[in-house]
């Protein structure tokens, strides 16, 4: 089963390698991966007088790594615990069982000859894709959406011939309003 984890880490050299190495070394699976520096929103919540290395290295900040992985409940528990055990890992967020907003981004270049251009654009319109580049024989689309939408679009455009594809891993955020009866509330 597909699972999504967000891992907040100190943005220090080698930290991604530690996280990825943990997965490969212990035989866990990474389906997609997404990394970027973010704002350290939790910093104020912890004690203000942190005399750690953060103060010594000025540029110390945090990155968010979002990983889609697979495994049963026991494997997921191990993955989360093992991630916590890595020293630069500050927080692991497991989105299992909670309502989330999820987004992926994709750039897709599809063959678009003569009379097919119309249909390609119509599909793009239905899925609210953005045309970001046009060539004589192809159209490049920017797609954002959840995993299922992105998969569906790839499926649709396959028959036209996909010339090029770039896809970022999934990002996720907890929804502000959780549905009734949510066990995690």
């Amino acid at each position: 089963m597909r699972h999504l984890l967000s891992v907040l880490v100190y943005n220090e050299p080698g930290v991604l390698s530690r996280v990825v190495g943990l997965f490969s070394g212990r035989g866990f699976n990474i389906t997609s991966l997404n990394v970027a520096p973010i704002l350290d929103l939790d910093a104020n919540k912890t004690a203000p007088a942190t005399k750690g290395k953060a103060q010594l290295i000025k540029e110390a900040n945090v990155s968010l790594i979002t990983i889609t992985t697979s495994g049963d409940a026991q494997i997921m528990e191990q993955i989360i615990k093992q991630l916590h055990k890595l020293i630069p890992v500050i927080k692991v967020m497991n989105f299992e069982g909670i309502d989330t907003v999820q987004r992926e981004m994709m750039l897709l270049k599809v063959n678009a000859f003569g009379d097919r251009r119309e249909e390609i654009l119509r599909i793009a319109d239905i899925f609210r894709c953005k045309v970001v580049d046009v060539g004589l024989t192809d159209i490049t689309l920017e797609v954002t959406g959840d995993y299922e939408k992105v998969e569906a679009i790839i499926g649709l455009y396959k028959k036209f011939g996909i010339k090029d594809l770039a896809r970022a891993g999934t990002m996720a955020m907890r929804r502000s309003m959780q549905r009734e009866g949510d066990r995690t509330r």
Partner: protein, 566 residues
């Protein structure tokens, strides 16, 4: 005052209470060695970097302090890797200092450059490269803190040559500060502990304590033993836990697992409640998981490392905490919840059953005219055993016989590579242990194969006048592999015959140690007495029965009660 990086490093080590380091010089650490020569830190010059890492490990296991070793870049670091991985598997607090090429050369495939941090990432608790002298003192502080706190382990600090030569003001950070991303749970969850006490431990008809290496690491042995005795709960231990409970006590059932006693293995399967402390339920301990991980028994699992819990077996009452703190609280809670029961009466049936197993299936071996390896271990235990002796082992049959036939009564008296199973560990570890505990008798029990893996350290032992004793259980085979070949590969002894070996008596002589050979059973005791009580380092080469097997044995993948018994 401005100090060089090397001076800051040594000053930081002193602030951490380091008295002794094991090391080997080289180009990338020459600045450090230059400063070391004028320092009052004691340095032991090993003969191979693997020896340095194992010696630091042995020092740590024997003393409870953090072991330190210092090696150069490239091959120095890679040679140390086996020692680092060994310490990592067995949760040994250790700080490994490696030289590195100058920062501007990193990535250029410079002379003696390897990606030390990359290579050691999966086999350390954490590692660092110090690229800025400003962070040096703090990094050393944090490295020691990480090595000995939580679940202990090796921490490596990679030190580029130019950083060691640079100069900077030395300021020692008084505290590590709060680490947001590292905060091991120390105190047990009381609610959970109370539930375990009231619902599992006190009502149990067939309780069992499983004591692991974590009990020794956390100094919780006496307190755990007190619980066992007070509530008449029998005790088994993993190999790493040997010495955590007195091996001569009636409640002691022996080691469990692949070469565990019948009583211990049967107890583990028949117990209705297992109180497992400081163990990770390794495959060598549990045997076939589906048999161990049964519904009928309840497991209360205390460990500092959350990843150890529910990794292999299902646990009803997980308690993440420092073993000592948890055991102290457990003792309190038991006292508060228990009535005035007569516990030997409460557990009488259980204890009687186990007593029958002990009587019916004692550890044994067939005596004939030959010297049996088990007999050698028994002789060492009888002659030199006791509180003042530390045993180290290599890996293989002799290690298992030592675990079975030597009576360990105190913690930190068995130093052995459990998790990684590193041949070549015992001799350098003995050296480290002897330096940590000059007051103790240190005996390395070795196989003829293992001893050849790090025998160069005899030179270090003799050079430092360490009275380490080595008893080689010499059967001319890589015995454990030969045993498997005999039992599971139709006696196809593929490359396990090692009859071609040095004359160990002459080897001892060549290094300047005492050498003895025992070929007749009648010579065994007198020679051991002479050698083990000599003030000098000594090697005793004991020619034992060649094809003796370690029994009981649970084949790989079999349930614990599926034992091959003699």
């Amino acid at each position: 005052m401005e100090l060089t990086g090397a001076q800051i490093l040594l000053e930081s080590l002193k602030r951490e209470g380091v008295e002794l380091i094991f090391g080997y010089p080289g180009g990338a650490v020459i600045e450090i060695y230059d400063a070391l020569f004028h320092s009052d830190l004691r340095h032991i010059l090993v003969r191979h970097e693997q020896g340095a890492a194992h010696a630091a490990d042995g020092y740590a296991r024997a003393s409870g302090k953090t072991g330190v070793c210092l090696v150069t870049s490239g091959p120095g670091a890679t040679n140390a890797v086996t020692g680092i991985a060994t310490a990592n598997s067995d949760s040994i607090p250790m700080v490994v200092l490696t030289g590195q090429v100058a920062t501007h050369l990193i990535g250029n495939d410079a002379f003696q450059e390897v990606d030390t941090v990359g290579i050691t990432r999966p086999c350390t608790k954490h590692n660092y490269i110090v690229k800025d002298i400003k962070t040096l003192a703090y990094t050393i502080r944090e490295a020691f803190y990480l090595a000995r706190s939580g679940r202990p382990g090796p921490v490596l600090v990679d030190l580029p040559k130019n950083v060691m030569a640079a100069r900077h003001e030395f300021t020692w950070p008084e505290t590590v500060g709060e680490m947001r991303s590292y905060n091991p749970t120390q105190e047990p969850n009381l609610k959970q502990l109370r539930l375990a006490v009231r619902r599992a431990i006190l009502p149990a008809k067939r309780p069992l304590i499983l004591s692991g290496g974590g009990v020794i690491r956390a100094d919780a042995c006496a307190e755990l033993a007190e619980i066992a005795m007070q509530y008449q709960i029998p005790v088994v231990s993993t190999m790493m836990g040997l010495g955590s409970f007195p091996g001569n006590h009636p409640l002691w059932l022996g080691m469990l697992g692949m070469h565990g006693t019948v009583a211990a293995n049967k107890a583990a399967l028949e117990a209705d409640t297992i109180i497992a402390v400081g163990t990770r339920f390794a495959d060598r301990v549990t045997g076939k998981l589906s048999a161990f991980d049964r519904d009928s028994g309840t497991i209360v699992h205390i460990d500092i490392d959350p990843t150890s819990i529910k990794k292999n077996v299902n646990v009803k009452y997980p308690i993440v905490a420092d073993c000592r703190k948890a055991v102290l609280k457990l003792r309190e809670e038991l006292a508060a919840a228990a009535g005035e029961q007569n516990w030997s009466e409460e557990h009488k049936d259980w204890l009687d059953t186990l007593e029958t197993y002990k009587k019916d299936f004692p550890l044994s071996y067939a005596k004939n005219g030959e010297i049996k390896p088990q007999q050698v271990i028994e002789a060492i235990s009888a002659i030199a055993g006791g509180d003042d002796t530390i045993i180290t082992t290599e890996v293989g049959q002799h290690q298992m016989w030592t675990s079975q036939f030597y009576c360990f009564t105190r913690p930190r008296t068995l130093l052995s590579s459990g998790g990684l199973g590193t041949m070549g560990y015992g001799l350098p570890a003995a050296m480290g242990a002897q330096l940590a505990r000059p007051d103790k008798k240190v005996v390395c029990i070795a196989g003829d194969g293992s001893i050849q893996m790090n025998s160069q350290e005899f030179a270090t032992i003799v050079a430092n006048r360490l009275p380490v004793k080595v008893v080689i259980i010499n059967n001319g085979y890589l015995g454990m592999v030969r045993q498997w070949q005999e039992l599971f590969f139709k006696r196809n002894y593929s490359y396990t015959n090692m009859e071609a070996q040095p004359d160990f008596v002459k080897l001892a002589d060549a290094y300047g140690a005492e050498g003895y050979r025992v070929s007749e059973a009648s010579e065994l005791e007198p020679v051991l007495k002479k050698a083990l009580f000599s003030p000098n380092p000594a090697i005793v080469d004991v020619r034992v029965a060649r094809e003796e097997n370690v029994y009981p044995m649970v084949p790989v993948g079999a349930a614990l009660d599926n034992m091959i018994v003699l």
